[in-house]
Symmetry: C2
Subunit: 415 residues, 2 copies
C-alpha cells in the first residue's frame, strides 16, 4: 500500500506525543518525554507547536514549593469533531466523536440485507450520519472528517469498495459518492482494519503489540497487528480468517468456496448448525440475523437443549479455527468482538478457553490469552474515527495553526 500506515504515523514524533496523551491522560512535558522516549527538548518544541495549533491546551498548572510551575497538557476535545461509521450488511451505525475520541452522539439505520443498490446504501449512511450529528448537537463546519468502514474488500488509497460479496458490489467509488453527498472529507477502510486499530488504541494494544481481533457477525474475520503494525497485505485484503478452511469440501460458503470458517461461525453458519440439530427450531423463523442471535442468547439462558448443543458445536468450531490463527502467527493475544460475541460470549469464551489447548502447538500456548474485547462502544466506528484522526494528525504539519477544520482535501490520500 503506498499510503502511510498507522505505524508510519506513529513513528513520527508528533504522533507519539499525541498518542501518549491518549494513553496517559493529562500529563506534563516530562511525563510525555518519559513515556515516548523523546528528549524533553523535542517534546517541549512539539508541545509549543500543538498549543499554537489549538490541538493541545493546558489542563492544570501545579505549583510546587520550589522551582517552576508544572503544566499538565491535554488534547483539546473542542479542536473538532470526527465521524466514525460502521456500515454492515444489516445496519449503519454512525457516531460523532471529539478529537480525544470521546463519543458525543450516535445514529443508527437498519439496512435490509437483501437490498444491494448503491443509492440505497449511500442513503442509509447519510441518514445515520445526520441522526448522529443531530443527537450530538454538532455544527457541520466543525467536522474534521468521516471514517467509513465498508464490508468486503476496500482500497483506502483509492477510496473504492472493490468487492462487497453480500451486495455484489464491484469497484464502487464510495469515498467520492459520500463526499459529494456530505461535503466533508471521507476515509474508507475495511472493518477488520478498524477493529484492529481500535483494539491497538483502546484495548489490549495497551499491553501487547501483537494481537488478533476476531470479529463474529454476519461475516467473520480477524484484524491482525504484528509488533504494532497492522497487517494489511498487498491489496489491503489480509485478515480473511473467515475464508480459511474448517472443513475441506464442507458447507457452501457465500464466497463461493466450500468449508470456510465463516460457513460455520458467521450468523448464517450458526443458523445452518441449528438446522442440522433441530430443523424446526423457532429461532430459525426469525426474519433477520440479529433476531436469530438474540433468540439464541435468550434460549441459552433458559437451557434450551438444541441451543446448548448449538453453543457446544459453535465453540468447537471456534476453538479449532482460533487454533489455526495461533499456530500460523504465534500471536499472544486474541480478542473477540462483533455482535455475535456481544450476545454469546458467556457461552462461547469459557468453552473455547477449555478446548483451545487441544488445537495449539505447545510452543505457542504459554501466555496465550483469549477474551472478549473491552473496547467501549462500536469498535468499528471507533477505529474508523481513529484512522481519520491519524490522517488529521499526520496532515496537521501542513495546516495553518488557525484553520479549524483543515481544508477538506487534506484528508485525501496522496495520488
Amino acid at each position: 500500500m503506498p499510503r502511510q500506515t498507522s505505524r508510519d504515523l506513529r513513528n513520527e514524533s508528533r504522533f507519539e506525543v499525541l498518542h501518549a496523551l491518549f494513553t496517559l491522560g493529562p500529563s506534563t512535558r516530562q511525563e510525555i518525554a518519559k513515556h515516548t522516549g523523546l528528549s524533553t527538548a523535542t517534546v517541549a518544541t512539539l508541545v509549543t507547536q500543538f498549543l499554537a495549533e489549538g490541538v493541545l491546551r493546558i489542563a492544570t498548572v501545579e505549583q510546587n514549593t520550589v522551582g517552576r510551575p508544572y503544566e499538565r497538557l491535554t488534547i483539546d476535545p473542542d479542536r473538532g469533531r470526527i465521524l466514525g461509521i460502521d456500515v454492515a450488511e444489516t445496519y449503519v451505525d454512525a457516531t460523532v466523536y471529539d478529537v480525544t475520541l470521546g463519543p458525543l452522539g450516535h445514529g443508527e439505520v437498519a439496512l435490509d440485507e437483501h437490498e444491494n443498490d448503491t443509492e440505497y446504501v449511500v442513503n442509509g449512511i447519510v441518514r445515520a450520519i445526520e441522526a448522529a450529528v443531530e443527537a450530538s448537537g454538532t455544527e457541520r463546519e466543525r467536522i474534521i472528517g468521516a471514517g467509513v468502514s465498508m464490508p468486503g474488500q476496500v482500497r483506502p488509497d483509492a477510496g473504492v469498495s472493490v468487492f462487497a460479496p453480500n451486495w455484489d458490489w464491484h469497484d464502487v467509488r464510495i469515498e467520492e459518492l459520500l463526499e459529494q453527498r456530505l461535503g466533508i472529507s471521507v476515509y474508507v477502510d475495511n472493518p477488520l482494519k478498524a477493529v484492529a486499530l481500535s483494539e491497538m488504541w483502546f484495548g489490549v494494544g495497551r499491553v501487547t503489540k501483537s494481537m488478533a481481533v476476531v470479529n463474529l457477525g454476519t461475516g467473520v474475520g480477524a484484524g491482525i497487528a504484528i509488533d504494532g503494525t497492522l497487517l494489511r497485505g498487498s491489496a489491503n485484503n489480509a485478515g480473511e480468517w473467515g475464508h480459511t478452511l474448517l472443513q475441506l469440501d464442507g458447507r457452501q460458503c457465500r464466497c463461493g468456496r466450500r468449508g470456510c470458517v465463516e460457513a460455520y461461525l458467521g450468523v448464517h453458519g450458526l443458523e445452518m448448525s441449528l438446522a442440522e440439530i433441530a430443523p424446526k427450531h423457532p429461532a430459525l423463523r426469525q426474519p433477520l440475523q440479529r433476531g436469530f442471535v438474540d433468540a439464541v442468547a435468550e434460549g441459552l439462558v433458559a437451557d434450551d437443549p438444541a441451543l446448548v448443543e448449538l453453543a457446544r458445536r459453535t465453540s468447537h468450531y471456534l476453538a479449532a479455527a482460533l487454533g489455526d490463527l495461533v499456530n500460523l502467527l504465534n500471536i499472544p493475544h486474541i480478542t473477540l468482538t462483533g455482535w455475535t460475541t456481544a450476545a454469546l460470549a458467556d457461552w462461547l469464551i469459557p468453552a473455547v478457553r477449555e478446548e483451545l489447548p487441544d488445537h495449539v502447538l505447545p510452543g505457542s500456548l504459554p501466555g496465550l490469552a483469549v477474551e472478549a474485547s473491552r473496547v467501549p462502544g462500536n469498535p468499528v466506528a471507533l477505529g474508523m474515527a481513529a484512522f481519520t484522526l491519524e490522517r488529521f494528525l499526520g496532515d496537521l504539519g501542513l495546516a495553518s495553526p488557525a484553520s479549524t477544520p483543515p481544508p477538506r482535501r487534506r484528508l485525501r490520500a496522496p495520488a
Copy 2:
C-alpha cells in the same frame, strides 16, 4: 524476541552496504549509495572501515579518460568460512560457504527417523560437519561460525531446541552441546525461518518483500516475510501452517490434533492418501520416506494410475491449504521448497495453479504467483549460513580489524 531480527540488522547502514554487494556484485561506491539510498559520504566511510577490516577488497580499478579512477568493491570471499547445517528427522546436511555464501563443500549423514537420542543426533551433526569441512579443504580456525537448523520449536536467543515432536525432545541445550563438541560458535534456529531468509536473500526476495516459502517434506510449514521482516511470532513459533486445519476432526496428525494440513501434505500424509487409494501399492513398502517419495516420482513418470490419483488428491489438498495462507495474509508470492517439492513439483505446481483461484478471494488473486523456489542448493543450510553471516556482520563493529575469526562468544545472543 529480544534478539535482533534480520530487519534490525538490515536497517543498519553497515549491513545495507554489504547486502547491496550481495545483490549487485562488484560495485563502485556510487552504485552502492544509489542502491542503498545512503549518502556517498556515508558509503565512503563505511567502505574504508570494511577495507581495513578485510571484509571488502578492491576487485577492479577502472580509469576513465577524465577524473579519478573508479574502484569496484567486492566482499572478500576469503574473509572466513561459514557452516550452514540442515538437521531433519531423516538426515543432516552440512555445507561450508565462503562469506559471499558461495558453497565450497558438502557433507551428508543419514539419520534413522526412529532414533531420538540426543547423542545420536549430535554425533550425526558432527560427522556431517566433518565431512563438509574435509570436502571443502577448510582449515578449522577459519570458520567464523555454524548456523544449525533444528526441526520443531527452537529458541535462538537461548540456543535451545524447545520441542521436536518427532524425537520427543524437550528443552535440549543444543547450541551449548554443539559448541562443546565443535569448538566453534553455533547459532540455532528453525528451518522455516531459514528457508524464508534464503528466499529473501537469494530467491524472490529480490523482487518482493512479502512472501511465504512453503516447505514440503516429512513436516510441512511456511516461512513468512511481511514487508521484508521475518514473521517470528512471540516464541519464534510462527509459520506452522502445517498445523492449521484442512479437515476438522480429520486424519490424526503427529502433533496430537486431528485434521492438520501436515497429515495430508507431509510425506506420511501422502503415504496415508496412497493407502486409501491402493493399500497394497509397492511404493508403500519403501522403508524410508525419501524412498517413498522417489518411488512416487518414478511411478508418475510411468503413469501409474494410483499415483496419478495420489497426485490429484495431493494437489487438491495443497491448493486448498495455500488458499488459506493467501486469504489470511494477502501475500503476493508463494514459493515451494523441500524434498517433496523437488521430487513432485512438475505434477503438483501446474495443478495447484489451476485450482488455486477456486480457493482465493477475488481481491487477493491479482498478481499472485506460485512457483518452485529457485534458491540453489539446500535452502535451509543456506539460510542458516545467512543468519550466521548476519550475526557476524552485526558483531563486526565490535571486532578488532585483524581478528579472524572473531572471538567465539561474539556470535552468542546477548543475555
